[in-house]
Structures are given as C-alpha cells and as structure tokens.
Symmetry: D2
C-alpha cells in the first residue's frame, strides 16, 4: 500500500480509556490517518500532548462531538468509543451518510428486543442491528466483516469467554451441562471513573464479584456460542490492577469424547489465527503474556471425569476493545489483519 | 479465667507466614502463654523484635526445632506450622508425650491412602490420622474438637469453599450437577518464598490459575462436603496482593427447590456462628471486609435457572490458618471460642 | 481505672478515613465510650455495620453533625475529624460548653495570621489558637497536653518530619544549612476521594510529587523545629499504596560534631518514648514495620562529609492522625499513654 | 538506509530484565539484526517464545555465553547486559577483535581506582576505561559516542539525576550548597531476583531507602556533574511497582540568579533533545508519562529562598538502560538517534 492510499478515519468518544487506546493505536497505524477526534472534555487540546504521543509536529486537536461527527463525514471509517446510547444515535446518521462505522459499545451487539432489559433503553435503530456484523474475526466471517457498513465490536469479557468456549461448542464435543465462566478484569474495563467506589484506596488489595447473574455480556457470549450451547453462567470480578482479563471457563466433554477431541477443536478453530496464542496448559495463561498486545492466550486441561478447564487471557483495552476494532478496520480496508498490531509485544516486566 | 490459669503453648515452624501470624495472635491472647517458639532460621533472636511486638519486656527467643520440641513437652498445646512431612514426624511424638497438638499443615487431613498421590509421601502415622479431628468448628463437632488430642487445622482454600457449599449439600437442596469452585488467593497463601516465580516483578499486575485439576485441597473440600456431594472442580488462582481468598462457587438447586431453601440452609448452618458474616449479596463479599479478621464473609445469589453463585472470602492467614487454629485452641481449652480473636477488625482502608 | 469511670466521647467527621480509623480505635479502647458519632453521609446507619466492628450488640448509630454536636455536650472529649474550616467553627462552641476538644484538622496548628495564605480562610477564633496545645507528645509538654481544653493534633507529614529532625535541631548539633525533607504518603493521606485523579487506574504504578514548595505542613514542621532551625524544604509525594508515610530527611552536622552527637540527641529525645522505634540504620525504616501501629520508626546515618540522612516512617492514619489523637486523649484523661494503642502490632505480611 | 545495510548485533546477558528489554527493542529496530543472543539459563530456547515476540517465524535461539561471544565476532556491535565483572572480562576481548561494544553494566563508567571501593573488584582493563565514552547523549558529545569503540551506558538513577541537575551546574547558576537527590525506583532496577527480600509479599505496600550514603551511582552522578559541582547526597528508595524512577533533586540558586536563569539553563541544554520532555511543573513529572518510553520528563520549581526542586522521571529499563543503549547504538551506526525508539509511547492507563 502506498502512502497515497492512507485512509482518513475518525474517533468519537476519544477520551475514555478505550478511546485513548484506540487513538494511540491509530496514530501508529501506517494505513490510516486520524482526521477527527472527538472529546467533550478535551475540546481544543492537542491529541499528541494529551496522550503522550511525543514531540512530533502532529497538530491534531480534539473537537466537540458535533464538530467531529461533521468531520467524520469525510472519513472512510468512524470509530465510536461512545456509550451505547450515544452510539445508537450517531451510528445511523453516519451510516446513512456513507461512513462505515465500527462501534465499540454494546449498541449493536444484541437483538433489539434485548435492549430494554440488558442495557436499560429502547433501541432507536433496530434495523441497523440486523445489518451490523459482530466483529470477532476468529469466530466470525471475515468476509462479512470486510464488507460491513457497521461492525459491532465485541465486549472485552465476551471476547475472552467466547474465544475460550466457542471451539468446543462448535465442534460438538461437549456434554449438555452448564457452562461456567468466572472472569476477572482490571479496573480500566469499567472505564474512566470519578467515583469513590473506584478510588485507589477502595480498589487496592481487594477482589470482589459484581453484577452476579446479571452482567450484560452474558447474553452476548451466549449468542456467540449459539443456540445449541448449554446454559451459561458468567460471573465477572474486579481485580486490583489496571489492564487484563483472565477468564476461567468450565465445561464437560460428552461421553466418549477425549482430550484429543479438545485439542482438535482448538486446532480447527485457530490454526492460522495470528492473535490466538495457544498455551500448553491453563497455568501458562497469564496477564503478563498478553497485556499491551492484541493477543488472546488460551490453555486447556481435561480431567479424568471429562471436566474441562479453559483459561483465556487478553488485554481488555486491546484485544478486548481498541485492538480488535483495528483488526476489524484492517479487514474492512482490505489490509493485512495485523497491520498496526503485530508490533505490540507484551510489556514485561 | 484468672491469670493463674494461663496455659503454656508452643509454636513449631514459627517463621513461616502462618507461624508468624499465629505467634502474633497468641501474643495477644489472654488465656495462653508462649512458652516455646521454634524457627531454624531465627534461632536465638528475640520474638518481639522479629515480628514487631513492640518495646515491651517480652524476652522470649526463637529456639531450634529440637529444643522447642523438648520445651513443648511442658506445654498443654503445641501448634505445628511446619510442612506436612515434618508435622507427620513430630505430632506422633508430642501426642505420645501427652501434649495436645493443633497441626496447621495438611499432614492429618486426609485418609492415609491419599498421601502418596496428593502430598507425595507415604504417611508415617496412619493411626493418628484416624484419631485426628478436622478443626472446622462451624461445620464440625465442637465437642469432638474440644476433647481432641490432635486437631487437623483445615487448609485456607478448603475453609472458604467448604463454608460456602456445605450448608447447601447438607440441606439436600442441590441437584446432582457439578460443583465448581474458582478461588483466588493472595501470595502469602504460598508461604515465604525465595524464588524468582514469587518475586514482586513476576507477580505484580498478573493473575493466573495454578495446579489446575490437581490442587491438594480438592480432596479435602470433597471430604468435608461428604460422600453424597456431586463432582467437584476446584481451580485456584494467584492474586497480586498479600492476603485474602475469594472463592466463587457454583451449584444448582434441585428441581422444586427455591431461593428460600438456600436462605434456610445457610441460616440452619450458621445462626449463632460468630465468625460467619452473612452478606446480602455475593457482590458484598470482599477481601477488605475480612482481611485481618477471623471472619468468613458469605453471600449467595440464585438465578432463574436454579443456578446458585456463592461467594466466600476470608483472610488466608487468619480464618484460613492461624486464627482458625486459635479458635480450635479455645475450644480445646474450654474458653470462649472468640478469645483473642473477637477484637480483630478489618483494616480499612 | 474501674469500668465505672469509662468516659463518654464524641467523634465528628466520622466517615472520613481518619474518622473511621479513630472510631475503630475508640471502639477498642477500654477507658472511653463512644457516645456520639457524626457523619452526614451515613446518618442512621449502624456504626458497627459500617466499619466492620462485628456481630456484637453495639447499637450506636451515626448522627447528623448537628445532633452529634448536641450530644457531644454530654461528653468529656470531642474529637473533630472535620475539615479545618468546620473545626474552626465547631471547636469554639464545644470549648465554650466545657467540652474538651482534640482537633485532627489543621484548624488550630498555626498562628492565626497564617491561615489566609496556608489554608485559604480567615481564622474565626484566633484567641483559641493561642490556647490550643500542639499534641505531639514526644516533642511537646505532656503536662500541657494533659490539662489542655483544646489539642491541635499534628499533621501526618509534620509528625514524621518533626520526629526525625527536632532532636537534632534541639540538641544544637546541626550546621546552618538547609533542611530537606522528601516524604511519600499512601493515598489515604488525601482522605476519601471521589475524583478521577484518585481513581485506581490513575494512581496505580505511578509516583509523583505534589504541592511542591507550597504544602501546608511546611510551616507546621518549621514551627515545631523552632525559630532557630535552618531553612526547610518539604516535598510530599503520592505513593500507590493505601497507608504509610516515609520521610527521608537531610541535614548536616556542625563542624566538630560527630555521629556520637547524633546518637546522643536521639537518645535524649526518645529514651522512654514508647511509640518511637529507633532502628539501627535508615534502611531498616520501612512502612511494613509501622503500618497498623501507633509507632514512628526512625533510623539515621551520618556520612564522611557530616551529611545526615534520617528516615522516619509511620502510619498516616494512626500515629499520623487517629492514634496520636488517642495518645493525646489518654494524656488528657490521666490514663497510661498507650491505653488502647499498645496492642496494635504491624500487620505483616 | 536500505534494508541491505541492516547491521548484525549481539546481546550478551540477555535473560536479565535489562537484557530482555534490549532484545525486545532490538527485535523492533529496522536497522539492526539480532545475530546472537546469550543466556546461560535459556540455552537453546526460542527467543521469540521466551520474550513473547509472537508467532512469527523468527528462529533465533539463545546461545551459551561462550558461543554467543564467538558469534559476536561477526557482529558490528555487541551489547553487554552482563554483571560489571563479566563485562570487564568480555569487553576487552570483543574490542580487540574489532567488535564495538555498548556495556550496560557499571564496568566502564568510573576511574579504575574507584572499582575496589565502589564495585568490590579490581578492574582488569583500566586502559579500556580511559577509552570508553560515557553514553549519555543529551549531556555528552554525540560525535564521541558516534566513533567510540566502547560505550559505557549510564546507570538508571545516574541518568535521571544527571539529566535533572547537569544543566544547572553547567550554567553556573547554583550556589555552593549541597545537592540532594532522593530517588525511588521500581523493583526491576534491581534485576531478576530469586530472593525472599524481593518476593511479592515483602515488597508490596512497602517503601524503604537502601544503600544510604553508599550507592554506586553517587560517584557516577558526581562525575557527570563535574568537578566543580557541590557536594552530592544521593539516596535511592525501593518502590512497590515494576518500572520507573522518580528523582527529586534539590539545589539552590546563587545569589542574584533567578528562575529565568533556571529556565534558560534547561533550554540551553535540551532544546532539540527529542527524549527530554520538559514539563511545566515538577508535579507534572509522573511515572505514567514515561514508562514504556525512552523519555526523561523533567520539571522544575524555584522558591522564594532561591531553593530549586527538580523532578525527573524515566523508565529504568528504557531510558535508564536498554533504550539509551539503542540510542547510543543509533549514534554509532550513523542512524537517526530515535530509530526504533520514537514509536514507544506511554502505556496508560
């Protein structure tokens, strides 16, 4: 790709943690050019200064959401890192104007009928949900993503749990017993917070579950696993660290199935998947291995009673949000799927 | 109790983290007097200076294990905070000499036949296992603990998981589906470590599972839950913090059973239990609530598909080790169960 | 002291971190009885439930500030853990009503003329400042504290820095060169915060200086060191942990003075001081040694060029606030200075 | 530079934290090719697998130190991330063989006569010290680095403190009063550790000074500041986090000098310096701003009594070690100084 084909893109909601990460990644992407970046809190500020992009001459400044949306009309792709309700208002306008949209919120991931119960609002654009393509490339249809006008970028927990369990469900090797996912996330998964609950003194040295039996990613995971998947229980926990999700997932093999079937299922799903790091054992799946990268590390163990434990880890802001959005963007632009992402290496120690 | 009845006790293995905590707690216990404290690494050092007991005139010094064992012969109770293999050698000698023993290791918790596979040694004193009383007062027989010559103090994970699930198993309200326990512990659960694996740079900001499908507390929990309990999968994780265990436990109600049966089961098990803190919801069960105390916080939720999520939290060094040992000691001495433990309050922030 | 002489006390501002710690400590103090506890955010809530005091029958509930102030009129001592401006309004009313006051704010620590510049308000009760006794027992006049109507409880940084440097200044062994104090504090020193700046994601893994050349404890330290002390530069830093202050202090010996003079100065100041833990070397002064206790650990080194490095550590919520307030309370009530504080042992690991 | 001119380089001591970081950075550098990587603990292992360089076909494996040294003879530049004593043995052999050396240890930073006292060994190659060029480009002679056969890469603390103070010393604006540097570093500054002292349980939530008045970087800083600099006291502290150094430095203006002179001194020193990030205030100098980058952030305040506080922050493994080594390598190869470093952006949150 010659530099003359660099594609203009816009980011709305750019001052949330997901939006900041997305802006950082886009700034280092050789195939796109940041043309408009919206943040209602940083209007007029230099993007480079705000997010530490260094002393280069890069003069881009944050715009108001309205100005940036207007500017996005001249872009090929607009990324929405806005709350779900905002995305649901903005995405239809942009799509109607011919701008392709990658929405990082939950605004287009579920059937319209689910929104009142799960997201507490009535969806204003149910027709667009039908058209939206769920952007989890390793489990979806890359060709559909490539031609989508609107991509629903998956949730962070949903990405981890789906990548851990879908190969087994799809291979048909599981018994019809409950699927149980206990996952823990660093605090940036909750976004930028000005609350006592998320203050350092309250979070440090603690651990707790939240939204037990009611987290909005449960129906999202269930949908990705498919109608024939067994009953799913998903329980998120809040970790005293900044980035990273570890999902420990439990299933059971059908009678007659063996560990070899498990290995085959993961090989069938992920051979050639460049962002899946298959580990020899679940104990090898660590946050250190994935934080700062677009990878999902996965390891599995099978017990004597046919019980299966799959651990999956990813960076909630990268493979769980901004990195996956870039991966989808690459597919939409016909670029190598890893453009701007392959150089991300784990940051350790 | 008058001061003339203060009982002499000994601690062997006093320089491990469990042993240090035990020594701290015993030093503040009005009914006992530390008569001998063994540590092969701190021989001759002042106990008060080593563990920060302050400027008082308390002149006790660490002795060699051999000297302390000899001194323990004059004690009413000896606490063994030694490795399981050491406990298995020492406990028979002390019991034979008429000293009552509380063993904090796994040396007397399982049937003798389990030791080669689970603890990697052949048990030298199987007869004493038969006599040992498992010291989990809230789930056991306090009278049996009170008259025991040898108490097997439970493991930290086993205490949390058993307290979370036993009331449901015993009340007979569960379906015959797998029990799944995902638990996470601060690093002190692994003891004092001089290894790169447990260095700050390797642990900080990370999370991972370990001993998947093979942790030695799995048979201990299963034994406490009883022969009729369903298949159990226990998966421990290593948290980047010093103290605290959170166990998230999954079960399912039998058809026809309801949330009211769950509430009744916990009430039946724990009404009057002074170290069980029942929380309104699993989300209220936090490490902050229990670290530094002898409490186990428990909260439960029941879903529409009869799924049950129980969260239990405790301090692995207190209710998971030294505090529970003191609780057992109190029962053995005929003291109030909370002597020396009631004043422990959570340390927050 | 017989239980019939237990003294009623009140706490205003009880839901800040200092106020919570104070309430916890008072609840375990054998010589006082909490008669009124004020918090405008927790009105009506059980104190025991809010701060984890356990399952006892202690029925005390938080009152509104106005109600608690009224109730305080029946108390011997009122603790003010309120902001400085609030303390300056409340203390005069309580003192006028015959209630003795221990103020944990900066409301009565400096000359009235300093308040506009340092605390940004004009002091409403300058006469009471003149009467107030600065409550740093190890450096002050215990008899004056014992008879005070109003005690100004010192600031946390000021306590650490003053305890480190005052013995040297007072012994007259220092050259007339600048005193430099670089100190770092855990986040609870800043109080309970609902701001993005103090959110976990912003604080974790970071370190920075704040209020450089302008912190309000600078004049407080200078005042304690005395008019003849050299120029002082105090720079606080914010640590990514919950509790603890380490102050590294720099001075220089006068020509002809030696390390022996330094040792003698600290011995003269602190022999018999039960909450000062003198360490052999500055390297031995750690947060682990003091967090959870009312101690200040101090260690000093003297170099070949007569340079002096003194490290001092304390728990900002205990010796830096609530514990020191209790120490002052004990003096005021004629109790042993360590009542309710001697049992606090470092919490490690 | 065309790809045909890619230069082969070797890394010895590649499994220490500095060596791992260096290997990561070199793997992403467009102008060099890793030809040999030595680690006695990982002999035969894949470099890509060990340090997470991802699923590419990069087949390089760790070699024994001897094999790698032999292989280095075919390289243009060898990086030594070995202990000082090892570097002092290896560097002379490599230089004699015509290989240019960048030594990350302290082996060639001080006069030979200093080694017995400071590094506890007698230097075996004093002649090579005379030839070595100290590689702190912002304060040194880039042309000398460019033609050096041996570059002594600066220490991490020394880099931070020197960058903070040298502009003031060199501008001649300081009074002849002591320079005081209190600095704190994350644990990776101490290297890979398998000791109880550096275990998570001992480091977490703690802070302490170490090597007070005796750290080996003190003479290194003094040497960089020059013979006319005032007496220096440097006190390092150990922070409970993985990466980052903050140095808080104290000096005093000469009479008649003003804050404008300070500003001018920093401008004169650093205008055009691409890795120096000048901040408006010392309070803006944070670890978050620099960790993961090759930058040093610097901010200064001047008080009414002519006191100066300079804060400087850097990533001890990047600008404090591997990144600076790459910067020197770029100069030696005639490349743009920021090659392979400019894309490093702070990793936040």
């Amino acid at each position: 790709m010659s530099s003359s084909t660099v594609v203009p893109v816009a980011v709305l909601g750019a001052s949330g943690y997901g939006g900041v990460e997305l802006t950082r990644l886009l700034a280092g992407h050789p195939g796109v050019r940041l043309a408009a970046v919206a943040s209602d809190r940083w209007i007029g500020d230099s993007v480079a200064a705000r997010i530490g992009l260094g002393g280069d001459a890069w003069a881009l400044r944050y715009q108001s959401p309205a100005d940036a949306e207007a500017a996005a009309h001249g872009c090929a792709i607009a990324f929405l890192a806005t709350p779900a309700e905002v995305s649901c208002e903005v995405a239809p306008r942009l799509v109607a104007a011919g701008v392709r949209v990658i929405d990082l919120s939950g605004g287009f991931r579920l059937p319209a009928a689910s929104y009142p119960a799960v997201y507490r609002f009535t969806h204003p654009a149910p027709g667009l949900i039908d058209e939206a393509v769920y952007g989890l490339p390793e489990l979806g249809d890359r060709a559909a993503i490539a031609r989508a006008r609107l991509v629903a970028n998956p949730g962070c927990f949903a990405t981890a749990a789906s990548l851990a369990l879908a190969p087994l469900v799809r291979a048909g090797v599981l018994a019809d017993e409950r699927l149980i996912v206990d996952a823990a996330s660093g605090v940036t998964g909750a976004g930028r917070k000005a609350s006592e609950e998320f203050s350092f003194a309250e979070i440090a040295d603690d651990l707790r579950a939240y939204r037990v039996l009611s987290h909005q990613h449960t129906p999202e995971i269930a949908q990705t696993l498919g109608a024939t998947a067994p009953l799913l229980t998903f329980t998120p926990h809040l970790l005293p660290l900044r980035r990273g999700i570890l999902a420990t997932c439990h299933a059971r093999l059908a009678i007659g199935r063996t560990a070899a079937d498990v290995t085959a299922a993961f090989a069938a799903a992920y051979d050639g998947a460049r962002f899946i790091e298959r580990c020899a054992r679940p104990e090898d799946v660590t946050l250190h291995r994935v934080v700062g990268t677009n990878r999902c590390a996965i390891g599995v163990a099978v017990g004597a009673a046919r019980e299966i434990v799959v651990c999956a880890a990813l960076d909630n802001l990268v493979k769980g949000a901004a990195g996956q959005a870039l991966q989808n963007c690459n597919l939409m632009l016909g670029l190598d799927e890893a453009t701007g992402l392959g150089g991300l290496r784990p940051f350790h120690p």
